[in-house]
Amino acid sequence: MNEPDTMNASNRLSAAFAKPNPALVCFLTAGDGDTGANLDALVDGGADVIELGMPFTDPMADGPAIQAANIRSLGKGTTTADVLSIASGFRQRHPDVPLVLMGYANPMVRRGPEWFASAAMNAGVDGVICVDIPPEEDDALGPSLRDAGIAPIRLATPTTDDRRLPAVVEGSEGFLYYVAVAGITGMQQAAIESIEANVARIKQATDIPVAVGFGVRTPEQAGEIARVADGVVVGSALVELVAEHGADAPAHLRELTSKLAGAVRSAR
């Protein structure tokens, strides 16, 4: 790699979660608006981890806001090469901020999992969240990511019962993403009691940090979750700002991110 790599992949993610405060994880869809400028605004506002969505024609786990962002991005002709170039540009500008790609299996395995893992590593990506590769199909991507030193980040959900939980946490690295609601992104929020109980249950099964997402829109909600989790993920609310403000989005993203970061950091 030629980028100024002050830390390797696993170091960047573990450093973000080793801070005394919970981590704020911010999501945007790649290729929707000026993604480079928008990501910089998230970092300026205080995001600890960046989650970069790879656009896909069939985003089955996403609600209307992120679906629309996928359509806008693909409508402008965003390719996998563009997504990787956004990632490597980000890595050049922010050597220490962890960057995670999130998306669906097909664009990730299209040229073979080794190709994708190696391209992501060269772009400075630290982790990959693949919505539709559960532990049962780990072979499709997991081994290639691990070989490349990229953390495969698994998802656990309210339906992940105790029987499955060990298999889910076992192959997960970097952090575990707890999906707070059985549903799609950007819709209703789960009751904090349910989140607290499930995070506690997951933390009994693993030592890796647990970040909570799906349905987290406001600083108040983020602060509440930060009291019981290691990280909070916000996506749709940020994606909506990109849709609404276009070229002026960075200022709005910075403002919301800084409120979210304030709420997360003062939570405990």
Binding site: I71, D132, E137, A140, L155, R164, A182, G183
Partner: protein, 404 residues
């Protein structure tokens, strides 16, 4: 029939893989549910009361067994092999789709689910699902692409008459794959009480296996009927393929009969040389969509492309994973038929046999017409007439330049 190690009939493996295809590529929220579904399906398979309930409904509600029919005038017109049809268009609701819906709703009730959802393209699976929901008194939500809602109004009205709620889906190209995305979104949000009746032999394990098993009644009947009528098996089986459930239903019971050749017919739309077709096997590449690994219409970046076919029921960018495996194993041959060829075959069957076929089996009939001419007169082709054409008369009229 013996199930030896080299059998083509013992797929999938315990992980739901057909060779390299199939599997369970779903969001974690759905994993516990499809594992439950698999356990419940295994129990049902071992439960003779499930089988007798299924058989009873197929006989008295669906109208099975469907006839095996020798198409004498079509055979004469083609001047080659004898052409026989398995008449699944005579089923209640007019297509093979109902066989699978009966099986799945019985499973849904065993699992204590109280709400049914489904996706539909042309509306045939939606109508079949709405039908079984009315029969068993369960609420039913059908997701249908807004484009398909507009071009399939009679089926939309049928579903509503049967008490289903039809939700037009406006995302993407607003056709079948988008309806399936929306069905999956509903399902993840309602896993506690909802059963998703998938309409074809695709999706996450155990759906491809389960749908194939329910549809295999077609091939089991046809095999016994052939033996009893002419005391021999056919030389060639032919069936149209969208997702591939009617073809697998016909083929699967014959897979270990080495002298029976099989031909699956995809939709070539305007032709395989452009991108306006729906031939996932002949014009696509392996990938992951809607819970399984299979051949998909997609670009170099893995973005799913929109297929085209005159038949809304074949207009899907994927295919059941067992077909992907059977293609790679070269057990089944696959070909494709254009819109125009299907339209000619549609009219040919109307005029020679007095049967108005759906546009889906019209693709199979077109392939039969080509093959029959090249085969000796004592050879036998058996094709699946998987749906009737009443739903398609508006599309056909428009193509023929007739105003009705």
């Amino acid at each position: 029939m013996t199930e030896h190690a080299n059998s083509f009939r013992n797929q999938p493996d315990e992980r739901g893989h057909f060779g390299d295809y199939g599997g369970r590529y779903v969001a974690e929220t759905l994993m516990p549910l499809i594992l439950d579904l698999e356990r419940e399906y295994r129990k049902a398979q071992a439960d003779s009361s499930f089988k007798s309930q299924f058989d009873d409904l197929l006989e008295h509600y669906v109208g099975r067994p469907s006839p095996l029919y020798f198409a004498e005038r079509l055979t004469e017109a083609l001047g080659g092999a004898q052409v026989w049809f398995k008449r699944d268009e005579l089923n209640h609701t007019g297509a093979h789709k109902i066989n699978n819906c009966i099986g799945q709703i019985l499973l849904a009730m065993r699992m204590g689910k109280t709400r049914i959802i489904a996706e539909t393209g042309a509306g045939q699976h939606g109508v079949a699902t709405a039908t079984v929901c009315a029969r068993f008194g369960l609420p039913c939500v059908i997701y249908m692409g807004a484009t398909d809602v507009a071009r399939q109004q009679p089926n939309v009205f049928r579903m509503k008459l049967l008490g289903a709620e039809v939700v037009p889906v406006t995302s993407g190209a607003a056709t079948l794959k988008d309806a399936m995305n929306e069905g999956l979104r509903d399902w993840v949000a309602n896993v506690h009480d909802t059963f998703y009746i998938i309409g074809t032999a695709a999706g996450p394990h155990p759906y491809p296996e389960m749908v194939r098993d329910f549809q295999s009644v077609i091939g089991k009947e046809a095999r016994a009927q052939m033996l009893s009528r002419i005391d021999r098996l056919p030389d060639l089986l032919v069936a149209a393929i969208g997702g591939g459930s009617n073809a697998l239903g016909l083929f699967h019971p014959f897979l270990d009969d080495p002298d029976v050749k099989m031909l699956g017919v995809e939709a070539a739309g305007y032709g395989l040389d452009g991108d306006q077709h729906a031939a996932s096997l002949l014009g696509g590449f392996p990938g992951v969509l809607h819970g399984n690994k299979t051949y998909l219409l997609q670009d170099d970046d893995g973005q799913i492309t929109e297929g085209h076919s005159i038949s809304a029921g074949l207009d899907y960018p994927g295919i059941g994973p067992e077909h992907a495996w059977l293609k790679d194993m070269e057990r089944v041959e696959y070909t494709a038929i254009t819109d125009d060829e299907a339209l000619d075959a549609f009219q040919l069957l109307c005029r020679t046999e007095g049967i108005i076929p759906a546009l889906e089996p019209s693709h199979a009939i077109a392939a039969v017409a080509k093959r029959a001419k090249t085969m000796p007169k004592d050879s036998v082709i058996l094709a699946n007439l998987c749906g009737r054409g009443d739903k398609d008369i508006f599309t056909v009229a428009e193509k023929l330049g007739v105003e009705i």
